[in-house]
Symmetry: C2
Subunit: 142 residues, 2 copies
C-alpha cells in the first residue's frame, strides 16, 4: 500500500497538470478539488517544491504551478520522494539498498529472487508512466 500522502501528492500533480502548464493554482483550490486536508497539502506541496516538481509564487496572487512538464514526471519519482523505496525488500532497493540481517548469501536467497521479479514488474510501470500518461489514460500499456 502506498501512503495517503503519496496519493495526495500524485493527485495534486494531476490537478496542476490539468490546469495547464504555467497555470497556477492556490492550495485551497487543489485541496478542495481533490478533498485533501489543506494544511497537510501545504506540507506536501513544499516537499514537491524542494524536489523541483513544482514552483510557487508567494503573496497575494500566489499559488503553485508545475515546474517540470507532465510528460517528465514519473509516478516512481514521486513515490520515492514521498514514501521512500519502491522495492519490496531493502536488499532490492535502488535508492536505499540495505542487506537483510537474516540473509547470509544474497545471491541464492529464494525469497529475494521472487521479489526481484516483483520489483522489476512494478518499476516497469511506475518508472514508465508519467503524469501526462495518467491524464491521457495511457502510458506503457500492456
Amino acid at each position: 500500500m502506498i501512503s495517503q500522502k503519496a496519493k495526495y501528492a500524485l493527485r495534486a500533480l494531476v490537478s496542476l497538470a490539468k490546469a495547464g502548464q504555467g497555470k497556477t493554482m492556490v492550495i485551497g483550490e487543489i485541496s478542495q478539488q481533490q478533498a485533501i486536508p489543506k494544511k497537510f497539502l501545504e506540507q506536501i506541496l513544499l516537499e514537491l517544491k524542494r524536489a523541483g516538481f513544482v514552483t510557487s509564487l508567494r503573496g497575494r496572487s500566489g499559488g503553485y504551478c508545475l515546474l517540470r512538464a507532465p510528460e517528465d514526471i514519473r509516478f516512481g519519482e514521486v513515490l520515492r520522494l514521498i514514501d521512500g523505496p519502491v522495492a519490496p525488500l531493502p536488499c532490492l532497493s535502488l535508492i536505499a539498498y540495505r542487506k537483510c540481517d537474516d540473509c547470509s548469501n544474497e545471491t541464492n536467497c529464494e525469497v529475494r529472487h521472487v521479489f526481484m521479479r516483483v520489483a522489476m514488474a512494478t518499476r516497469q510501470v511506475l518508472d514508465s508512466t508519467s503524469v501526462a500518461d495518467a491524464l491521457a489514460g495511457t502510458g506503457a500499456e500492456l
Copy 2:
C-alpha cells in the same frame, strides 16, 4: 516493502519445502537455519498452521511440516495472510476493497488507473510463483 514477518513466513516455508514433504522440523531448527527469532517464529508458524499451509505434531518428537505441496503454495497467498492486501491502494484490493475517502468517481481516477496496472503486474508474479518455483529458481519467468 513487505513486513519482516512475511519474509520470515516465506523463509520458513522454504525451509520446510527443502526438508522434503512429510519431513518435520522443530521450530528451533528453522529458527537457526533462517536466523529468525524463535518466539516470533512460533507465532508465525501458528498462523501458517491455522491457515492450513503447515501442520504440526506436539510433544517430545514433534515439529512442523508442510501440509500443502510446495507447488501449491503461492507467494501471494502467504503475503495476504500475513501482511494483508497486496494491492497498492485500498480501492484496488481483491480481499479487502475499500473506497478511497477522497475519490469521488473511481472509474476515472487517474491515480487508480496507474496503480491498477501496478497491481496487475505484481499479482502476475506473486500469484503465479509457488514455493516450489522459488526453490527451483523458476516460475512464470519473463
